[in-house]
Symmetry: D3
Subunit: 135 residues, 6 copies
């Protein structure tokens, strides 16, 4: 069993916002992260797949193929986008990094052609990271 990781980046806008609360209540709950005019991040995404090494190729999975899957199902929907408005798989969700990693897991879980999705890790800033392993 080898764990292979592909790192990607995307630049997105968002605001933390809980449906059903007013702007004032959201600002009280989330502080500057709920700025009604948005803010944004250079997110760093790490996708980890665990699997047996294929003796025909020496790969668990060709990372070029994994890169294309991540771009098709995630990056194209989040890069230079607004996560609250533009991203279909985030609609109705408060875009905390916790909710983003779970949503990205669901996007990718059944798209991995070899091995199994093991972990989604997201760096929101250089000091704040989040990981989901499907548990």
């Amino acid at each position: 069993m080898v764990y292979i990781t592909r790192r990607e980046t995307f630049a997105a806008a968002h605001r933390l916002f809980k449906d059903g609360l007013s702007n004032e209540e959201n600002l009280k709950l989330f502080g500057k992260c709920s700025n009604p005019n948005w803010h944004g991040h250079n997110y760093i995404l790490e996708v980890v797949v665990a699997g047996e090494v294929n003796p025909a190729t020496g790969f668990v999975l060709d990372l070029k193929e994994l890169k294309e899957i991540i771009h098709k199902h995630v990056i194209s929907k989040v890069d230079h986008k607004n996560l609250n408005i533009d991203t279909d798989f985030m609609i109705g969700l408060n875009p905390t990094s916790e909710n983003i990693v779970i949503a990205i897991w669901k996007q990718l879980e059944d798209k991995i052609p070899a091995g199994k999705l093991y972990s989604i890790k997201l760096y929101e800033t250089e000091n704040n990271y989040f990981e989901y392993r499907g548990e």
Copy 2:
């Protein structure tokens, strides 16, 4: 003459947008960077001050003081903000990184209590950097 650098970060939303052009014209000119729903970045800002070393302290300038000046005049106006809407010193400017480094220079130029402002460097992404030296 010693060059001292203080590094700060801020998370902001923006879109590239030239006044007087329509959304369509802006999208044609700036591509995904002009997404009407915004996108954002974790910007990294480096402020460089050049000066003689003060023999009384061994400092060009106390970096704690420089940090406070940068926070008061720049970070408080850009962190968790929308650079097109929220930032007074960017109003009327297309928020390209070129325009941001020049605007930050103007914010700080006459606020440095010792030495002289030498350079403003801004990392928009890990692959794109911009520097202005007041030339």
Copy 3:
């Protein structure tokens, strides 16, 4: 279950020193790391908390709150300090990074308001890292 990480840094002096041994014996055992005049590091600390996502906030735990807890119980006691002399929770311990990660775990274990402390990771240098998971 999402794993959230807060990264902090601190600058501290220390020397490796085993009580009951002479300076010479300590220098023989620990080499330059036992310099009687001390040396120091920019330590990087990563605190990982694992927990369920609170549906009211989309957080496992507000990272601002976690940051304050880490500052109150750890950073205020180690930053710009001497780990052998100044840090109450290290008194009587040889300040190897192994002993530091265990001691920081004990400082934080019962202070986490939601979720459970999962891991303490410490980078002593860019080449040497240490992790403790309470096992």
Copy 4:
């Protein structure tokens, strides 16, 4: 139980190449990674050892000792080498990072004087990482 990590780097040439296939077939399977004239990487290697803290030293294992073991059994055989030709423990293996991490594990598994080898992690580029834990 503390997990200690030593990070090392090495610069090596390689090409992906499956024995029994022609150059053309290898190029079809592996693309530019099978360039017959080779290419290369600055690999980053992380070796993780898990063990109890020795109360006599406060160490799981002296990282200077671990560094020497890694240099003797791995770095001396891969740094400024061609992984397909020069490295005895890679002979007959297609030098994918998956195969390299497993081979390095086998090199080090029975050389660790205290604690147990827990993980071998290899960064082939800043975007592609690989980990093996002996499972």
Copy 5:
């Protein structure tokens, strides 16, 4: 005048080799860097262009355009290549990083559509960097 930087990476094999000397003489002069079976690096390239900000766009030069120029004239000729054999603009040159930065400068100098080429910076390893400014 704003200085804009585009960062790119490439993975290449090379060996230091002076024409007219034997393998033995080259090994004596260049040590392990002259391994006849090659070694390689993940090079990091930074291209800096200096120019006035175009008031119509807020750009010195669209970094997407600069990226395409660098890929066409440099990256396509060095990535996953052997710098001694495969790279037309390095033929006949000993591929030290000093010679590479000068050769890349010559490749790009007259291809910059706005502003002027200011600097070529190359990281061979995380500890060794090289810069050429056309002086």
Copy 6:
């Protein structure tokens, strides 16, 4: 003219302290940086040499040779040392990073066998850098 850089690191203890002032006055002037029990840093040092490329080697200067010079004249005197007490070339100086870069310049200025010393850059923390160019 090519600029070549060698990056080195060292771990040292220090305190900011101006001779002739009391502990209290130093603490008032320098805050936590004057802790009488010391603190420390992982300093990162970059030494830049500028020179013509030697056509016999393709080098400005062999970086292995530059590394040895830096180790002999700087690293051996500062790594795992106390900069206030142990380092001969810092005796009598308040070890601010400004004073350290100037002192390292003086240590190395006349030891460079080819090209000329161009810059000494020192990172005290990931947010504070200092550069001296002999001006």
